[in-house]
Amino acid sequence: MRLLERNPRLSGLMLGLAVLALGGVRAQAQPDTLEISSTQPGSIAVFPKVISDGTRDTIISLTNTTNMMAFVHCEATNGIGECVGAPAGQTYYCNSDVDCDDVTDPTGAPLEDVGPCDISWQANDFGLILTAQQPTFWRVSTGRVQDPELLSGDACSTGGQSQQICPGFFLGDSQAGASILPAAGAFRGELRCFQVEDSSGALSTGNALKGEAIIEWLGETGEGAGQISAYNSLNVQGSGTAPAELFTANLDGVEYASCPESLTIDHLAPGASDPVSGADVEVELTFVPCTYDPLNPTSMRVLFNTYDMIEDPLSGGDTRACWANYTGSLDGALRDRATTYLRTTARATQTGNCTAGSADGEPCTADSDCGRGGFCFDNSCNGGSAIGWTCAADGDCGTGGTCGDPSGILGVAETIYTGSVVASSADVAHQVGTRETADSMSTSGDF
């Protein structure tokens, strides 16, 4: 990791050139309002759900939508854990302690609690260079390496190596030799790709990036192999001017777009039958914190409200660190509902604001300010050994932890259909409102 200062003289020269050159040319328009968008390019492309765990694998597609070369620095964070109480020789992946409560051994026999779930939050980074208008992609389990002799063709291959070689032009991180390394072992987590100025890794707000994630089931033909779900990346738009900090994006609505105040998701009820195919339905809601620091996991505090078609609400809440993949129950708020079609609102709670109750969203100092059923949230530890716990000062949070407003959230919903084969479909969540509290996303600093 290198720490480089932005050269003010060079920046000034570049700015001057830009102003002069653009005098008679149509300027590159910047967004009227900065948004985190799944259908407009941005300066940070966030893929909240990336899977490569032996049952599924993911293709990441990333495109430069501008006529300028784009340098990209990506951070992949693995949120997968292992149940530490598993019998010797057996591995059970988890995302929280709950996932270790109800597991079966390879013969299908139920096991006692094999928790807790141990998650290391491993972050890996790599760089890419995209030429003007260039689309590119890679497979997460293998990464990709450039082979100058395979410029054209219809297929990729690993050729006995760990990295996949594909036809095309793939300019990866020069330090690693034009390559993206394969995911180290099982991966369930997220990917964030930041547009940067150049090999210094300093952030850029060029709004060049967009992408898709395609999650594919593995297995034999006829057993669901080739079933795919896809979603668009969430692209954080920047202002077009140089960020105040070299390696940290300030999501305040001025430098970069603010995070949403809440998310809303239309979906089928878990446990219901798909109205067309009759397949059993499960729903996975995946959230990542808006605030991101690859060196220090961020907590997020999420409150769910799920409405069925007779407008009957049920709610639940949870605090997680780094990457949360909720399957099935969501504190019972989703399962066994009266109707097949549901809408779930997921809100990142803000310190000093009511969540739910008659004063929903209003400032507060105590639960009683929020009316019946409302909560007034305190500061919580973002990072540190007490991550997610209520705190009064940074010292309550352990080394590296800060006490403050918990992060906003971004999310993806995926529906799993189990019938004659397993299938899935995915969509990013709708966004409602914007947070008053600024979030931030940092890179590890190098290219």
Partner: protein, 381 residues
């Protein structure tokens, strides 16, 4: 060295800025006052149906005035649904396959915060409504005691069916948008569609594209974009990332990829039943930044495998891996004569030219990189 490269690339970029990105406002990410579901596909005989969702995210009841657009073509001799004249064989005599455009409108009354869903083949009405008003209980649901009374969603008019759905947030009495300005304009609707093949258990879902209301005079002409826009603009340029048709899927290293593209014009005259002439121009880039182009008329709705957009011979298409030479590409789609909206479907199959060999599919949204400066218009009956 990188600084020099940066200067050179910057200078080159300045020269090319005429075609660079400008951000647009229409998107799929926020609740809106106008929803567009670009692809509704039903073929009951073959187990294909589309599940539709619409939700009200506000704390007040609202109403959506919706329009199914049937974009089927029909045979002049038999009246059957057709794709080409070859489908119009009546005892050895071939009729013409004539494109059609039929709209059916209906209303959906939503209680506060309510999600609603239905199958396109079945619709939703009467006893199936979740919040039915009765004489004894006229407002059975929710905190604001609303009901779905007045909702009658018809089934699509024929099967097989290919078409679109547009829903406009409207006044419950006039069925027209509410007169409003700025933050007072209601933008309460979210939507989603899931095209499902029951035979395979295969689901491709996408979120409806939303256009937020910014101003409305409450009349029957909805101005999308332009000066004094009532709704945020549609896209002039859409970007579709795609896997070249015929490319081998990099994960299975077995299946062949193919994609379908559906485009609809933003301008529609539901009152006069006329079609605006919109042309989609395609610039297709591979990983080498090599560019090829083609164009295609969008009459009412374009729904095509991408390698059939420019030719009848898919392996010769600019969307074919045989021509592109790389696995993925980027298509910039410019609407000439009006704005466009659309959705893409990626399929994996053992033979990409044979739809029956499909093993999986998924839908994803197209990105908007340039907004239209000219206004689109939707005229309501």
């Amino acid at each position: 060295m990188f600084c020099k490269a940066k200067l050179v690339s910057f200078a080159a970029a300045v020269a090319l800025l005429g075609a660079t990105v400008a951000s647009a406002d229409s998107d799929h990410d926020h609740p809106a006052g106008l929803l567009m579901y670009p692809k509704i596909s039903v073929d009951v005989e073959n187990g294909v149906d589309t599940r539709l969702h619409i939700s009200n995210v506000s704390n007040n009841p609202t109403m959506a005035h919706c329009f199914y657009v049937n974009a089927n073509s029909h045979c002049t001799n038999t009246g059957e649904v057709c794709d080409t004249f070859q489908d119009c064989n009546d005892s050895g005599i071939f009729g013409a396959c004539v494109p059609g455009w039929i709209e059916t409108n209906f209303d959906i009354f939503l209680t506060s915060r309510q999600p609603l869903g239905w199958l396109a083949s079945e619709g939703l009405a009467g006893d199936e409504l979740p919040c039915r008003a009765t004489f004894l209980n006229p407002n059975p649901c929710g905190v604001n005691q609303g009901s779905n009374s007045g909702t009658r969603i018809p089934p699509i008019s024929e099967t097989p069916f290919i078409g679109e759905l547009k829903c406009i947030e409207a006044d419950q009495t006039t069925r027209l948008p509410v007169q409003c300005s700025g933050d007072n304009c209601p933008n309460s609707l979210t939507g989603k569609a899931a095209i499902t093949s029951a035979e395979l258990v295969d689901v491709a879902s996408y979120r409806a594209a939303g256009l937020e209301q910014v101003l409305n005079d409450g009349d029957e002409n909805l101005q999308i974009g332009g000066i004094d826009a009532e709704y945020e603009p549609c896209a002039e340029v859409l970007v579709m990332d795609f896997v070249y048709d015929g490319a081998i899927d990099p994960i299975s290293e077995t299946f062949e990829a193919s994609s379908e593209l559906t485009l609809i014009p933003c301008t529609q005259d539901f009152r006069g039943q006329t079609l605006p002439p919109v042309t989609a121009q395609f610039l297709v880039y591979n990983e080498f930044e090599q560019r090829l182009s083609t164009s295609r008329r969008v009459d009412c709705l374009l729904d095509s495998r991408i390698s059939s957009i420019d030719t009848g011979s898919p392996t010769r298409s600019i969307f074919s891996v045989n021509v592109g030479g790389t696995i993925t590409g980027q298509a910039r789609i410019r609407g000439v004569g009006g704005g466009l909206a659309g959705v893409a479907l990626l399929s994996l199959a053992t033979d990409f030219t044979d739809p029956d060999s499909r093993v999986g599919w998924a839908a994803y949204a197209l990105d908007t990189v340039v907004r239209t400066e000219d206004a689109d218009t939707i005229s309501l009956p």
